[in-house]
């Protein structure tokens, strides 16, 4: 699903002395069917921006087009309803959105709300719960009676149950341990790969995730997009990123340090353990030929 922001401005606390533009006259196009990451310092406007993508926020000025829906400051709330069916949103602590008595009912709530019968909704809910790795023995338990990691997966199943085309992830792995983070990112990536028309927009502080999973990385600062490109292009700009309070993935930090210390050229855009090892091995081989 393609996104197009046209002179988008969002002002917090308008008409008060505290008035600030979180987003400032932004023009931006994000193509559909790709995995896009948005990185930026705390307060750079990235969360405010993505909340426009499913109509949670309406622009103060300008407009935003998501697929076939256009949202402006005076767009009626009713028109945002179908948009939210197609754009799923996972917040930082999605488990805070759980509310039903049983896990199954919680996940089936969304589809029922959008007109599915109880049977249909439960069928979809069961499939989604299985996909996120929740055992059917837990279906009748209270969502508040399982572990934190399980609660988060139930909440995510609830978002996936609406079968969105575009999934917005706002720091979905915050607070999880490394194993949990890895599992969660894999789950999202598998969902994305499953069907051609699906897109993901990930807001993250984890440069490793942005580098590893994205087709494109968008860099925000001060309410505007200041750069965009493939992970390879973006994470080759260590100095520029550090200036706006960001870092490059640890693998890139290591390879750049090695490059500087050894005064020889090597491939520094490696984002996985395997690629980093390979780059170091070829550096050691090259040393032999010099």
């Amino acid at each position: 699903m393609q996104i197009k922001a046209n002179h988008l401005t969002y002002t917090y606390m308008k008409n008060t002395p505290f008035e600030t533009n979180a987003i400032d006259k932004l023009d931006l196009m994000i193509p559909g069917e790709q995995f896009t990451s948005i990185i930026g310092h705390t307060g750079s406007g990235k969360s405010t921006l993505v909340q426009h993508f499913n109509g949670l926020l309406k622009p103060t000025d300008g407009s935003i087009k998501i697929g076939e829906w256009t949202v402006k400051s005076d767009t009626k709330q009713k028109l945002l309803y179908p948009l939210r069916r197609h754009v799923g949103m996972v917040f930082q602590f999605p488990e805070h959105q759980l509310f039903h008595e049983t896990i199954l009912a919680d996940v089936a709530y969304g589809p029922m709300n959008f007109g599915f019968s109880k049977e249909e909704a439960e069928k979809v809910a069961k499939e989604c719960l299985a996909n996120v790795g929740i055992d059917d023995q837990l279906f009748d338990r209270s969502p508040f009676d399982v572990s934190g990691g399980q609660m988060r997966r139930v909440a995510i199943a609830g978002v996936l149950a609406l079968d969105p085309e575009l999934l917005i992830l706002d720091e979905p792995t915050a607070g999880l341990d490394p194993e949990g983070q890895e599992m969660m990112m894999k789950l999202f990536h598998d969902w994305y790969e499953e069907r051609e028309e699906r897109s993901i927009i990930l807001v993250t502080h984890q440069m490793e995730d942005a580098a590893r999973y994205s087709d494109e990385v968008i860099v925000m600062d001060g309410g505007n997009v200041i750069d965009r490109g493939t992970p390879r292009q973006i994470f080759a700009k260590k100095a520029e990123l550090e200036k706006i309070g960001l870092t490059v993935p640890e693998s890139v930090q290591l390879l750049e340090a090695l490059q500087a210390h050894s005064e020889s050229e090597l491939n520094t855009s490696a984002f996985t353990l395997e690629d980093t090892v390979e780059s170091i091995l070829s550096f050691l081989h090259k040393k032999g030929r010099d």
């Binding site: 490394p178 194993e179 353990l273 090892v277």
Partner: protein, 279 residues
Amino acid sequence: MTNDIHVDHLYFRYHEQAPYVLHDISLTVKQGEWLTILGHNGSGKSTLARFFNALHVPKEGKVISCGIDTKHANEWVNIRRQVAMVFQNPDNQIVAPTVEDDVAFGLENAGIPYEEMHERVYRSIERLGLRGLETQEPHRLSGGQKQRVALAGALALRPKVIVLDEATSMLDPTGRIEVLSMVEKLRKEENITIITITHDVTEAMLADRIIVLHEGSMAYEGTPDEILSDENALRKVGLRAPFIVQMANELKRQQVPLPNGVLSHEELVTSLCKLKPIT
């Protein structure tokens, strides 16, 4: 050296039929030490931290904080003043409309006279590098700044121990470095004992000593060098070794002759540059 925290055969469960959340924990934390309690989500590490300042009180076993047995309810206020805590979510622990009021909040509750309170608040603000932000609204600060406000509030109480319960896990990388370097400074210059609760192995590298919790029991104890270089042991308890350790191990598997115990970027880079070329 005196001990600030002493835990003796502590067991804990939420009610009598429930399984044990903490199982036979014994540990001491020396004055001026930095101890990290490392464990995955649900390992019991945050529950354990709550015993240090009498937010939980043992039914089985014993906890002595700053020389006082935490079972005495009349000492709880006193203990909590000496063992300060900073929690994960900065937004949940800020209470006042301005930075200076927030830092003063704990002191007001403790009934400190105005003159002294004033002096302590501004000293703490100064120490945490928050000068110029005194009259700002805490909610408009960055995550790293908010956690420094929380730390300043803790410092103003003149505690012997500061416990940081996942206090950097919601911050971006710069905010994390900002807070941890302040913690290091407080330990060095104020001789405050630091206990950090985390699943972040990079943060654990800063400690003098690490205790790894797994399913409510103490799985390992040692220096960062000992604990963090053992990739398999960490994997067994649901943790990951630091990236550099994983790299060094993988290179060794590929027949690159690296020395043991490589933990930092600098060490790995220097070792690699010293190696004979592969031909």
